[in-house]
Point group: C2
């Protein structure tokens, strides 16, 4: 090794030792007679000391070291005069005897510091420099720890990691596939997996009993912010289970990760039905770090002459604790917030329950103090609280209020990234109608089992919307980090499901025949879950974006700007693949 120790290792107890360190020059500070160099590696920073009066030549050499030079130094550990309590090596420094420059460095295009001056594009282009910065490095280390602890927990629970193929078959159901032309099978294509769903189910048919994999998946979708064409799942499946077994097992996994990686005990996870999530939080991934539940007000506010409320399918509001002091300007901003096209509310009604006990609303014309007291009662409001109310069609109003609730949570400091609130959302609908395509789609995917008592409804299209899925999502801090279901394991039911989704029998057989046929040879009851690993990492890291938890992410056009990919390929290669480009 070109070092005896790392730059994060030496302590006061090492004083007097002869050591060799290698690393990058973080900074060189020249104090006339003394020169200090901070030497950095993955493990930390160690101060190197050079004294002009005892070794002028070496000191001159040190002064010539630019930022990011790679050097190897030998010297003796000694106690520092000015200790730095902020770093673990802050008690010592190295009196250097010799320096060897292992590699020089051009001046980096941005500073290698926690808060860099580099913009996103520059950071991505020089990602190898960006990763030298502590926040990105720590994000990747966190990801490593989460992956290893995930494997440890699941292995201890008898799960077997099985690698499923990457070159598989394209299926039109679901998102768009990336495809790979096959040279040896002219005119044919592989597809990259959107998930190993069918393979993990086949592994259950194969008797593997408990499977997992931390696995790359691929979706050729138009990229929204923070969505990557390739992403990573913790993919799991178990046989001979019922829903409760899966929920236990995988909240166990998440509990293990929080305990070992963050030292937090998340306790037993609550269950919330999809219907309750919609009713009280307006979406299926409620941020339960804070209360501020929806209160439905139809019974309280209607028939008082206020047409907006009278005509609304739903009048629903939230009570923002302690926000009665919001100014008119702040309230106007909230109104603008809900009126944005994405939310599309027509307006926002508010009522301040002032600290002095008076109540002041934006609709005083229609509601007197007695009426407003009924509002207070409905919300359970206390003096100092602010009531915010929306009205309109059920789905749209809930969606808008959900966003407003999150905004208020943010404004009131209730969404602490170091606090974690986890729950299961259960009892999703099996099917949802898509107006655009004019047919029913599986809310999770076509392999999800309906509740046994709802199976009969699959014979009656009028009841499709009522069928409950044996599906579940794990939600943490308003983010869906994992989702899964008990699966269909009966060929006839699976065929019925495909029929419900508009497949002809031939189409179903051509695309998923291998799975349905497998069900005829002794398929066990089974179910599973998949966690979005990139998102889980960013959540653990307290970050909004998943980018810094991926070593080499792509931009919103699906490009890797560092290696400049995708790129054109030569005609010979295209010819061998029996394809032509049409641009």
């Amino acid at each position: 090794m070109l070092r005896s120790h790392t730059c994060g290792e030496l302590r006061l107890t090492d004083a007097g030792k002869s050591v060799t360190l290698s690393g990058w020059v973080q900074i060189s500070r020249d104090f006339g007679g003394l020169t200090f160099v901070d030497l950095r590696d993955r493990y930390g920073i160690t101060q190197l000391a050079f004294n002009m009066s005892t070794n002028a030549e070496l000191c001159e050499q040190a002064r010539k070291l630019n930022r990011e030079f790679v050097v190897q130094v030998s010297g003796t550990v000694r106690e520092r005069e000015n200790k730095n309590p902020k770093i673990p090596t802050g008690d010592i420094e190295i009196i250097v005897d010799s320096i060897k420059v292992l590699n020089s460095a051009k001046t980096p295009p941005f500073t290698i510091e926690d808060e860099t001056d580099g913009g996103d594009d520059l950071r991505m282009k020089y990602r190898y420099l960006d990763i030298r910065r502590a926040p990105v490095r720590e994000s990747l280390l966190l990801r490593h720890r989460l992956a290893q602890e995930t494997r440890k927990y699941l292995s201890d629970q008898e799960f077997i990691e099985v690698e499923t193929p990457v070159l598989i078959k394209s299926t039109p159901e679901g998102a768009r596939d990336f495809v790979v032309p096959s040279r040896m099978n002219a005119g044919q294509f592989y597809a990259l997996p959107q998930s190993p769903q069918t393979f993990k189910q086949l592994l259950m048919v194969a008797g593997m009993d408990r499977y997992f994999q931390i696995v790359k998946c691929f979706r050729d979708e138009d990229l929204r912010a923070d969505r990557q064409p390739e992403f990573t799942q913790i993919d799991c499946e178990m046989s001979f289970v019922e829903r409760a077994d899966i929920l236990d097992m995988f909240e166990g996994l998440v509990r293990h990760l929080f305990k070992t990686v963050k030292g937090i005990d998340i306790g037993k996870l609550p269950h919330m039905s999809y219907a309750d999530a919609a009713k009280y939080y307006g979406n299926d991934k409620p941020d339960t770090r804070f209360e501020m539940k929806f209160v439905e007000l139809n019974d309280v506010v209607k028939n008082k002459g206020f047409k907006v409320f009278d005509d609304a399918e739903l009048v629903v509001g939230i009570c923002a604790k302690g926000a009665a002091s919001y100014t008119r300007k702040q309230l106007d901003e909230l109104t603008e917030f809900v009126k944005r096209p994405q939310l599309g509310a027509t307006g926002l009604v508010y009522a301040r329950y002032n600290a002095d006990g008076t109540i002041k609303s934006s609709v005083d014309k229609f509601y007197n103090e007695d009426e407003l007291k009924k509002w207070v009662a409905a919300f359970g409001a206390e003096p100092g609280d602010l009531m915010l109310i929306l009205a309109g069609g059920i789905d749209k109003t809930r969606k808008a209020l959900s966003e407003l609730r999150l905004e208020m949570g943010t404004q009131l400091g209730l969404r602490d990234k170091n606090k974690f609130s986890c729950l299961w959302v259960i009892d999703f609908p099996l099917l949802e109608y898509n107006e655009e395509h004019n047919r029913w789609f599986a809310m999770h995917h076509p392999f999800t089992a309906p509740w046994p008592e709802d199976i009969a409804k699959l014979s009656n299209p009028a009841q499709f919307g009522e069928i409950r899925a044996n599906a579940y999502d794990m939600v943490i801090n308003g983010v869906e980090v994992g989702g899964g279901s008990i699966r269909i394991y009966d060929k006839a039911l699976q065929a019925k499901m495909f029929e419900t989704l508009g497949f002809t029998a031939e189409e179903a057989q051509a695309q998923f025949g291998f799975l349905m046929n497998a069900f005829e040879f002794g398929a066990p009851p089974h179910g599973g879950i998949a966690f979005g690993f990139d998102r889980l990492c960013s959540l653990f890291g307290g970050a909004e974006s998943i980018r810094d938890f991926i070593a080499f992410p792509k931009n919103n056009s699906g490009r890797d700007v560092m290696i400049d990919s995708p790129s054109v390929i030569d005609d010979k290669q295209l010819k061998e693949l029996n394809i032509k480009t049409t641009v």
Copy 2:
């Protein structure tokens, strides 16, 4: 859970317990008054007992269970009368109270037994049934253990598992890439990685210090037996190292795997130079489970009037211990073996050193007993040994003798799959000349560092063949399981290397500019290795083929016959991707 215990779990100490098991019917045996059913899951087999006289109805039910039915049974554990010492649960059986058929099964197309009657094609088509067989299941379990132990060892050594991208950039150097048309970047393509080589080097530039990944790689090559278009590597890289550090670290990994997974201590690994491997074993991956080293005989056999030897560039042989008793027929077969077109020897000379001390050769006409005694001395042969000699051009003769040596090792039972002989082969040539392409190629890859003292020879094409690479292969039982090198980390040297390989400066910049540019920003000395994980698994499993260590392998045409992939995709999809097929 649909079970209280697995089918591999119950012991005599559990007698009297009420249990519920779920699994597959392995076999049902009807003995008149008694019916026994073997119930199987991943964990083992448990015998279920049904008694016609105590519960006729249940017994009748049991008799109707066909092979591979999935059933759940409840009952009581009791000691067996006829114990089966071959299985861990052999002391007990379950007196069944109730049966529930969870799923029926058609008769499988082949028997679910260790030795199946299914051929390869059928097994691949119904891979989910094939995996139910113990040998395949155990192979996948072994793979899981090897993966987890690899991660444990490397994590303990401060290696960080970093996921590198799968959608990267096509490069013409090396094997053929699989490519992926980009919908969002019309006319452009991603490529699937043949290895994460450049990314792991960038991670070293990024200061990650120690990286590993168990990662899928892809090569669109014409498939030979036992080569898969997608395969898995244990990919590793370290900074601030010299060769000895890497050899220590990774023989440590392999030692750990043998110790923890097989309970074998492989000790300290010997090093063998590429030149010695060629001279003594005729190839760069010698099977050192047995000696039978090459003995060069030019000095001994020439100028005795035997033209074949006199004209040969090299006369070289092996001494097969105890094989003097080989019959004429056996010797003729060996002659045929070396004369096959793949080996192309013109003939085989042998000399039997008989047990009675006499020596009898196939060239007695040219060599009398005194001359043959010189052969005996050269080989260090003993009475009872057989000397086998080939002659011709150096490379071809060594290659043929290498195959003959392996064949003799096999015939003499010297290649025990439960014995493991590991070594490092080092000091490979940096470059090898390719007659077909009329240029030099990197023997490992273009990123391998030459020995510092040989760098000057890169300026003189006449010396290209003499340049030694700082590269190393790990060889186990004649299989190259891993290979790597110390890397170039200097931009100028890397550019020189590309020039040597026939790249123009523009081509080098277009394809590998991102890496060479990275070297300008403070690249540390680094090196690494990659192990072929599929092959390592099969070696640990004592198998010739890697197929059963891959859950869902492809056939020699690159097809997955189970899911029937690759397949045609629809025109709409092609249009979105801006490509057309030309078939």
